[in-house]
Amino acid sequence: MEYLIIGNSVAGTSCAQKIRFNDKKGQITILSEESFPAYGRPLISYYLAGKVDSNLIQYRNDDFYRENKINVVLNCKALNIDSKNKKVKGSNGKEYSYDKLLIATGSVPFVPPVKGIENQKNTFTFLKLEDAKKIEKIITDKSNVIIVGAGLIGLKAAEALAGKVASISVVDLADRLMASVLDSQTALRIQKYIEKRDVKFYLSNTVAEVGKDSVVLKNGEKLPCDILIMAVGVKPNTEAALTAGIKVNRGIVVNEYMETSVKNIYAAGDCVESLDILSNQNKVLALWPNAYMQGETAGSNMSGVENKFAGSFAMNAIGFFGIQLISAGIVDPKDEKVSIYIEENEKEITYKKLLTLNNKLIGFALLNLPDRAGIYTSLINDDVKLDSLNYDITKKDIGLNVFPQDIRHNKLFRGNNK
Amino acid sequence: MSISLITPQFEVLRDEKKCIQCKVCVKQCANEVHRYDEEDNVVLADDAKCVNCHRCVVLCPTKALKIRNNSLEFRDNANWNGKAINEIFIQAETGGILLSSMGNPKPFPIYWDKMLLNASQVTNPSIDPLREPMETKVMIGRKPKKLEFDKKGKLITEIPPQIELNMPIMFSAMSYGSISKNAHEALARAAEKLGIVYNTGEGGLHKDFYKYGKNTIVQVASGRFGVHLNYLEAGVAIEIKMGQGAKPGIGGHLPGIKVGEDVSATRMIPVGADAISPAPHHDIYSIEDLSQLIFSLKEATNYKKPVLVKIAAVNNVAAIASGIARAGADAIIIDGFRGGTGAAPTRVRDNVGIPIELALAAVDQRLRDEGIRNEVSIVCAGSVRNSSDIVKAIALGADAVYIGSAALIAIGCHMCHSCSTGKCNWGIATQEAELVKRLNPDLAYQKLVNLLSAWNHEIKEMLGGMGINAIDSLRGNRLMLRGVGLNQKELDILGIKHAGE
């Protein structure tokens, strides 16, 4: 049996690991268009900040590949998939045959058209290690950095560069940072906190034009710019999938077995659409744990052990400038029936937001209150009825003691981590 | 309202160099002695509430705590010492009788410590219990005057029911109510494991513990709490409690606060009702009444259970014991004045009754003088502290001993004498669920098993040293004892010679 995996991040890796668990003999090959061994993409900001070196950034050590007999081909982009003959053409000129194929090509940065962007040769996106390495090379303490996008990637980039350059300015069209996760008040509080660390924000604003050493904002303000980082967003990388004629909406369409519309071809990770259990719709949920589990599910089915992916929901754990933000589910609801509980402490810069609907927790956001957040996550994940619990979760800090004794004992003594 | 004259009995000493503010002491003190001051990040203590139970001292991970007697002194006066003065302050303030727990703490002679044991040298080999059989099994119960066989050599005498003990030790009566359910469980399980018995005390038998019946003595006391037919039939023997060494002539009082649902169901009294055991049994005003109760209980249980009678060691104990033997009791328990209690009037505890050693010797000799010693068993109770006390008790004439305080100490009691408060920090003398759970029966029972296994081993070593390989040969073997520092009267009563004789 020959297994081929396109993409060498978490979905590809977990897929390979699962295949090897089920099939000790089959041949496993991973194609990576990058020149580095697998690493955690979110780690590039830590790399840029100097918190991890290129050694430690490696996701799995060399022993992992040796022990699991996984062949990784670096610097090889999959150019074309020939599903009829079960062959993939690589950018290195070689052809790779497969019996089962996984597409785990992840996402690519979304860069909106900006006038004059070609004027700034130091324009980067911030998604791959390569990006971080390029930026690392050119920054000096004189650099003026403009970051477009006040979402997770932009802020992580800002954090990584803070203190290393002359100025950092973050520009976003939205009126607040991390608009998808934070309400405006909290966003403002965080913004003020970050501003003290010499990062300037230009919100409800955008870069209108890029000059050689400056940018002009929509409001006319002109900012010096030596380095421009485009961190507006990402989109699924469906390029390879399309060559095989696989059905693609926003992302690659898969069923619960992570099978694409083409036989023997599976897809997992940020490049696919999968079930969001909260909205009961297929969505691109570009989340690390999601990618891991989808890769694992695909790997299982590819190696003959039937397994379903149960679906997921949005969740994030983010740390920047010493702030910890943990959120999951729906935090910015459209539905008016959602009740929202908020508890905040300005002095301590903590914030707790719990969102409930129909006797269930559907989302939460915790600022600097990470402890035991996973229990909230499990309440969403397990679809727990709130009135079955020992106490009102808004009235008391969460603990396992929230569960009635039998459920608690089932969890503690029978290792049930559902 | 005036100020209280009572000063704290103890001082809590906290070594600030060692205190890590972990607050274990704060969480563990049921008397609320310790408190944490968040503002100053310091743990403070209220000396006045401290009973010196050592819970905090033992649990403090850095051993930062010590408790000592309050160093506050009154002017020297051998007669009017601090204790005497404080007791007056307390009574003047409360108008109540003084209450105490556990046994008589006053420095009366402890005769165990004035008797020494014999060992074999040359003419008689000592026996190594690790290599040779060494028997400590005893049978408690009434023995017929003699055995009869028919012409074919078949035994025709029926032996009355006996309590078979693997070692001459029993756990003495401590009621569920006065001690916790976990403490009872520990005693019951240890008795089962060791092949001995424990005693329900006067509080009835909790439904969970009927399964330990083979190792249970059920008690019938003046309050008759929890007594019904199933109860009488549940154990291996029935004990009639006529008196208690710690408080001869006094009844018992379990305050309603300790009578929760479980205790209530077990005692068959309403939740929250005080459980008052009258001073006498109101159906026993004389020896013939006792005989009637003994035989009522035997009738009720088809003569299948030995009936034991427990009395406090008082002036006329020998004659009383003789009467009890003749009234039909299968065994007599003599409880000395150092025996423990959950609560007793201090004056009674400290001033009524006589030392167990003298009482035991007198009873044994009296029954022998009357030729009936072999027909009835004698159990010695009231502060048997260790295996050598047991060996001495048996040499004086006991068949077995009861241990109460020693058993409680084994499971954590620190002899703070505060049982009556119900706030036992060790989970023993309390009914508060949160305190009760501090006594893990799994651990406690093992400690009891360890203690008595060790004692049994020590008893065997001492027996072996005397050249004896069965405890039967120690019983009443007073030649194995010698007195030290005793006057002739004491030696005569104990029936022993002075060392050197």
Binding site: G40, L43, M315, P370, T377, G415 | N440
Partner: protein, 152 residues
């Protein structure tokens, strides 16, 4: 595999497990120094259960799940399950993103309050010393190191 189990009927909530957990994971291995000089977060959570009759408690450590969510969620590869089934965190690799905290359904992974490199505090079963310090020092035998099968 053997794990630490807490028995509610015996747990007193005294907090000694935390004291000894911290000390076991300190540099000095000395309780007082651990508290005075090292700001260590214990890998244990003590929870109180509100029941009508009395407070009950239980101590909670990492369950070392058969299928650990924290390992899957870890973005750096720091969290892994070793060949003995123990879920471990390589402190050099951990970047403190707290994804593990986000997904642990027991809330048994804690953020380390220490400013040092170690960011996550979780039970490692004191594998280096043999018996877990919490089990060893529990005054009431409420914590037991037991085999999963034994517990079931």
């Amino acid at each position: 595999m053997k794990k630490v189990y807490a028995f509610e009927k015996n747990c007193l909530g005294c907090g000694l497990c935390e004291v000894y957990c911290k000390t076991a994971h300190s540099k000095s291995k000395d309780i007082i120094k651990t508290y005075r000089k090292e700001n260590i977060t214990s890998a244990i959570v003590i929870e109180e259960i509100l029941s009508p009759k009395a407070k009950t408690y239980f101590a909670l450590q990492c369950r070392h799940c058969a299928d650990p969510k924290c390992v899957k969620a870890c973005i750096s590869g720091a969290m892994y399950k070793d060949q003995n089934g123990i879920v471990k965190n390589i402190k050099e690799k951990c970047v403190g993103c707290l994804s593990c905290v986000l997904v642990c359904p027991f809330g048994a992974v804690k953020r380390n309050k220490d400013k040092e490199r170690k960011i996550i505090s979780k039970c490692d079963l004191c594998i280096e010393t043999g018996t877990p310090a919490c089990v060893e020092n529990c005054p009431n035998n409420a914590l037991k190191l037991m085999d999963e099968e034994e517990v079931k």
